[in-house]
């Protein structure tokens, strides 16, 4: 009953912690009873398809785990977008993401307040945009997940669906981890160089325009985040077993970047006139290029942050 064991391993981390062992034991016993009854009816051992049939009756592991959660609810807008089984995980993901990102934003804004006094309106501006973007991204992710687990209840078993995919999902070799970390270090070095240049150029004239001083304050936390990630990449290149810390460090760095972008968004304008004459297109440049560009960067950072957090959660959920 390998399929059953894999199914229960997939369900287990999605169950309420306090009742996990009990529920898995009960489910195991009930599914075995059902499979035994079907074997007796067929007069032969169950094939893989027969086992799939039995498990399909229980549903995708995420749906099974969700049914045992306390916070039942659903999200509907006309039609149901997120069902009661996934809703507890959706609420959990929102709480976790908001808690992490708001904490890091608070730390970043507190640090930035040493360079520029912050107003309540400024803080609110920096925070609300993240909240809206994170909420929108998480909602879209879970709507997609709802469609996936409903339409493909048996698409949880990566070991069965594709042997090549299963091979790719095996632990990467130390050589590949080292190579990946070395590449990451090089890319980050270029990013660091660019950030130093941006920090130095803050206030410097670029023809009729110059970068607003706000860039200097905003790039400092980003420099720290990049430096921390570079140190980690270097450490992993020498100690590949430390790859398990990669996601939390990346997530923290992304959150710092997000804080910096949020600070920049509320601190416009981003380019100002270098001289007394204000170029005609300056407001358009600020609005169309810098404001929209920062929004796009912010949205990308939110997606990347959620990706790292979900990836870290899934890696933790895998049995050792």
């Amino acid at each position: 009953m390998e399929t059953l064991d894999r199914y229960l391993r997939a369900v287990r981390p999605l169950l309420p912690r306090a009742q996990r062992d009990d529920i898995v034991a009960e489910l195991s016993e009930e599914i075995r009873s059902q499979m035994a009854a079907r074997e007796a009816a067929l007069g032969r051992p169950l094939s893989a398809d027969d086992e799939d049939d039995v498990l399909r009756g229980y549903g995708h592991p995420m749906l099974v785990g969700g049914r045992y959660q306390a916070a039942q609810g659903h999200l509907a807008f006309g039609r149901e977008l997120i069902g009661p089984e996934l809703f507890p995980f959706y609420v959990g993901a929102i709480k976790y993401t908001f808690a992490v990102s708001l904490t890091i934003q608070a730390v970043v804004l507190a640090a930035l307040s040493f360079w520029e006094p912050l107003t309540f309106g400024g803080i609110l501006n920096a925070v609300w945009l993240h909240v809206v973007i994170q909420f929108a991204v998480l909602t879209l992710v879970f709507c997609g997940l709802q469609v996936q687990v409903t339409r493909f209840p048996n698409e949880w078993d990566s070991e069965r669906t594709s042997s090549e995919r299963a091979a790719a999902e095996r632990q990467p070799t130390p050589a590949s981890v080292r190579f990946e970390s070395a590449c990451e270090f090089v890319v980050l070095l270029l990013v660091l160089r660019g950030l130093f240049a941006l920090h130095g150029a803050s206030g410097a004239a670029l023809g009729p325009l110059r970068l607003a001083p706000v860039w200097g304050a905003a790039t400092l936390p980003a420099l720290v985040a990049v430096a921390a990630t570079m140190i980690q990449a270097l450490a992993i290149a020498f100690r590949p077993d430390w790859v398990r810390y990669r996601r939390p460090v990346r997530a923290a760095a992304l959150a710092v970047w997000l804080g910096a972008v949020g600070y920049l968004l509320q601190a416009g304008p981003w380019v100002v006139a270098a001289g007394p004459r204000v170029p005609e297109k300056l407001p358009d440049l600020n609005r169309l290029v810098f404001h929209n560009g920062l929004l796009a960067v912010g949205a990308t950072l939110v997606v990347a942050l959620v990706w790292e957090i979900v990836g870290f959660w899934r890696e933790r959920a895998k049995p050792v």
């Binding site: 529920i23 034991a25 016993e29 009930e30 009873s33 009854a37 009756g57 229980y58 549903g59 049914r67």
Partner: protein, 127 residues
């Protein structure tokens, strides 16, 4: 579209009965698999993914008790109605009979009243 509407309403109607059906079946001690089999044999189709979380929820509400026991060399979790569950079930069944009586009254009124009997098409037939 009509079939889909009927199916949704049918599921809603049956969903409302599940708790009473499960509690009534657990006046005798059963484990999950036999409970489901009993309900299916009586025409109450409930899928496994719904039954076990429902049993946990009812137990959490104090309406059921459960214990692990070994039977035929396998450990199984047996459920039965608790004392509080018996009381709640009695009240739910009284509520059920009241609803049944009211619905019967409405249907009889339609059969013998001004609007006449309800035809298969759903509209009152000519008296």
């Amino acid at each position: 579209m009509r079939d889909a509407t009927f199916e949704n309403l049918r599921l809603e109607l049956r969903r409302g009965c599940l708790v009473v059906a499960v509690m009534a079946a657990l006046r005798s001690e059963r484990y999950g698999y036999t409970l489901r089999r009993t309900l299916v044999e009586r025409g109450i189709d409930i899928d496994e993914g719904t039954l076990y979380p429902l049993l946990r929820r009812l137990e959490g509400q104090g309406l059921l008790t459960s214990e692990w026991r070994e039977e035929e060399k396998r450990k199984k979790r047996f459920y039965r109605l608790s004392a509080e569950g018996e009381t709640v079930l009695a009240r739910l069944l009284a509520e059920w009979r009241g609803l049944d009586g009211s619905l019967t009254g409405i249907l009889e009124e339609n059969e013998h009243g001004n609007t006449g009997p309800i035809s298969a098409g759903g509209s009152p037939a000519a008296a």
